[in-house]
Symmetry: D2
Subunit: 279 residues, 4 copies
Amino acid sequence: MSQIYVGCELEYVTASPTSFLFQVNAAQTNRQCTINENLSVSPGITLTTLDIGLHGNKAQRCFVQPGSFCLYYEATVQLSPEVDFANELSERHFNELPSCVLPYLNPSRYCESDLLGNFALKQFGPSPQGLVRVRSICDWVFNNLIYVSGATDSQTTARDVFVQRQGVCRDYAHLSIAICRALGIPARYVCGYAVNLQPADFHGFFEAYLGEDWYLFDATRMAIAGGLVRIATGQDAADVPFATYLGSALLKSKKVWANLPQGAPAIVSQPAQAATSTA
Amino acid sequence: MSQIYVGCELEYVTASPTSFLFQVNAAQTNRQCTINENLSVSPGITLTTLDIGLHGNKAQRCFVQPGSFCLYYEATVQLSPEVDFANELSERHFNELPSCVLPYLNPSRYCESDLLGNFALKQFGPSPQGLVRVRSICDWVFNNLIYVSGATDSQTTARDVFVQRQGVCRDYAHLSIAICRALGIPARYVCGYAVNLQPADFHGFFEAYLGEDWYLFDATRMAIAGGLVRIATGQDAADVPFATYLGSALLKSKKVWANLPQGAPAIVSQPAQAATSTA
Amino acid sequence: MSQIYVGCELEYVTASPTSFLFQVNAAQTNRQCTINENLSVSPGITLTTLDIGLHGNKAQRCFVQPGSFCLYYEATVQLSPEVDFANELSERHFNELPSCVLPYLNPSRYCESDLLGNFALKQFGPSPQGLVRVRSICDWVFNNLIYVSGATDSQTTARDVFVQRQGVCRDYAHLSIAICRALGIPARYVCGYAVNLQPADFHGFFEAYLGEDWYLFDATRMAIAGGLVRIATGQDAADVPFATYLGSALLKSKKVWANLPQGAPAIVSQPAQAATSTA
Amino acid sequence: MSQIYVGCELEYVTASPTSFLFQVNAAQTNRQCTINENLSVSPGITLTTLDIGLHGNKAQRCFVQPGSFCLYYEATVQLSPEVDFANELSERHFNELPSCVLPYLNPSRYCESDLLGNFALKQFGPSPQGLVRVRSICDWVFNNLIYVSGATDSQTTARDVFVQRQGVCRDYAHLSIAICRALGIPARYVCGYAVNLQPADFHGFFEAYLGEDWYLFDATRMAIAGGLVRIATGQDAADVPFATYLGSALLKSKKVWANLPQGAPAIVSQPAQAATSTA
């Protein structure tokens, strides 16, 4: 059980009336509990909370008049990570997967799992199945990609990342997801906050469905184990932008943080591994 | 109110134990009612009905031993198409869209709406909004694509179709959907049966969200108005294959049909237009 | 007959011994004559002049020790543009094209002419052939692309530009070339200097083969007519980078200029049109 | 020194007057000598021989009236393969490459070497350079691709092949070329005839520049060593189609053969390796 203090501050200048949809709040799950949450906007306008999609995401919608606009969010999040799961977490056969996870086998905008079947089978087919296999996927992605800020953009997909072997956290997650799906392992994208991320920013990681639950993985190895806080879940990053808007907006500054409480014992960063689960 | 007799017969040979997921049943909606439905498999094995995804789809799952396998489906479907909607069906502003339709603004595997923004705005920005605009998108797609069987495959996306200007029904739908989303109009893929389709096959068309409901469109103009029967709904074709399997299967034959009852008055094919709505 | 003063200054820092290949010298053609040319490097090392490829290009090769490295080039170029060609410049039938221009019908790295056939035929098939048609291609490209610095990069191809409808000069040229080739008009890429370019930089434009010669076009309309100075010619930009290197080099600054002599009469910018020809 | 009997028969039906360009004749090089060559067309029309491009290719051009058209080619080709080259064939440094081979470092339509740099360096960077490295590239391509007829088409590029890990001979060649270029090894595409190819067809392979010459490689391992007969050379397959036409033509049948003379000693197929060289 650990507590993490997370938050962000987003400053915009809008040139015309603009509709915003924000996904920045820490999610409420059976393993993640938000306490002392505060979301405020300046100038003070109405925020409407929406439930979006099949992933249980929440979003905040608002309509902003031209001028300066600032959103501030902070929360303390209590995590109950699953700590005692063993390597024997197994993959479920296609015939036994619960129907609610089946959509996460489909290819999506940034995860063209349909194209990577031959590679995935050759590279990871011989591996022991289950948690061991997902970990070996994360290791392969970590070892074969170069983390390069600015080398990719919002159009970059798993295919591109696989070819060019470089990217940032969302690219690592997309490629990992695509490989999992190509092997018949349901996988989905998670955006969130991550303790110790350098430079501080929103983080992208992923979940794979093993045994009877979803388990978190981070192929970048950038966040500390037990330091991932979920905001929202999707097929891929297309589903969970931290902000969507219609109108004319310029993001002037973005600050994101995720810290352990002062005095907390240091948590040593560890190789990519399943860390927390959610119902 | 019209009745349509639909069905399909799929014959496989499987070389190993194979899990199948079929999406061939006509959907039950407030505008589409299935009567006299019959789904059978040979040899006789257990079919499990699953609810899949956020689209309200049903699927049939089964586990097949090696050998010949045949699925037979037939049903009479009663449609209550919305016939009196007027051209003034409007687009809803981003700020007013119900949250359940927001995911259908996101780009997806086959509909890279994020890439087509400049084109969509230049070509359809000046158009009157609402039903008129979606119809003009359908007209543009119809007039600028060449229907060529075999020119595209399961990897072909809206981007490819836009460049190469050819494809089949699913390509027409994907491009139409991508343009709608690029303009802020929620749009989604529908697979189904279509009366008078030549050659007979499953059909792909799409829905756009206008006013307060989803409306069907078919940019191919191949099906008769009022002759579209929904099987399933998805972000794009990736969500609604008529069959998915894990194992070793060969599709030996596929027959698909959709007919008006004998003695029914002839229905004249019409330009692409909104035809039926669903809740 | 006009004179243009062109040049560039490129400053590098190299961290290891580095081989460079520069293409910055104004070409010598029957319509372009270089006078008072000066190419110098600091520190003073040997430059070897190479003839490259089938395009008649010259390049300078050198081997640079770690440290600072600067290349300075300036020249006065005398142009003898073809001024009296008429609209009746015709396209040559495939069967009559000289063999030396046939390679310029092939698709290349950045000009996938093989993908744009349907579009090209529908859009420009009905046009009168010859100069009129190439001009209408330039007009279409100018009118349908948005000039956006930074929206594209060195991987962007004509296909991407066609989809996203934005780019910079090289993207305008690539799309124009791809359309020409798709119609059976040999076309090739030209990099060079351009008078009045804002901001000053190397420029990319193209040539189409009409009548019995190559004619220059610039779909961006950014350079003044008669103000294009050729450096090198290629299938596309892949053939004519201003600098290629093997080693570790950082381009610290780049200055490029192309000016009319002081006191020269002002030249008014004109719509895209054939401007000069080369043997 | 070996003799190979090669040839092809191409039958077309043309619906309108059609211009053809054929590249089917065995090339004349310092290691490949054509004897008893016969090229005939029916009906008997004029064939014009053209020199095309920078690769020394020959092509036959003709203009065909509507109806049936047949081209028949046969020749006996004498090869003088380089048999005694040793593993120490080295790579030439970028700074020492002859200018005529520099264009073969550039990316091209089907060989996006610019995208594969990270992969190539990680996978083949540690390898000994020279012949050993090119052989290890061929081995990797052979071991990581699945040969699947019909899985790829004329749009498939090295990038696609790298992702999907399947293709036919031209795909194997394109990927090998792209990797070579990414490592600074000039490489180019060769189409030709190949002894023992199953099924018989034109073949695609490639050349890498090592030491002071070009050396042939075939990553498919489908042809026997010493059994490759060059027709034409290009940046990639875009430069060397066996037939190009403008008009309306349907290829009704294609026969291609390459046989050792009767009574010749059996030649055992061998792993991919450099086989012959050309000036």
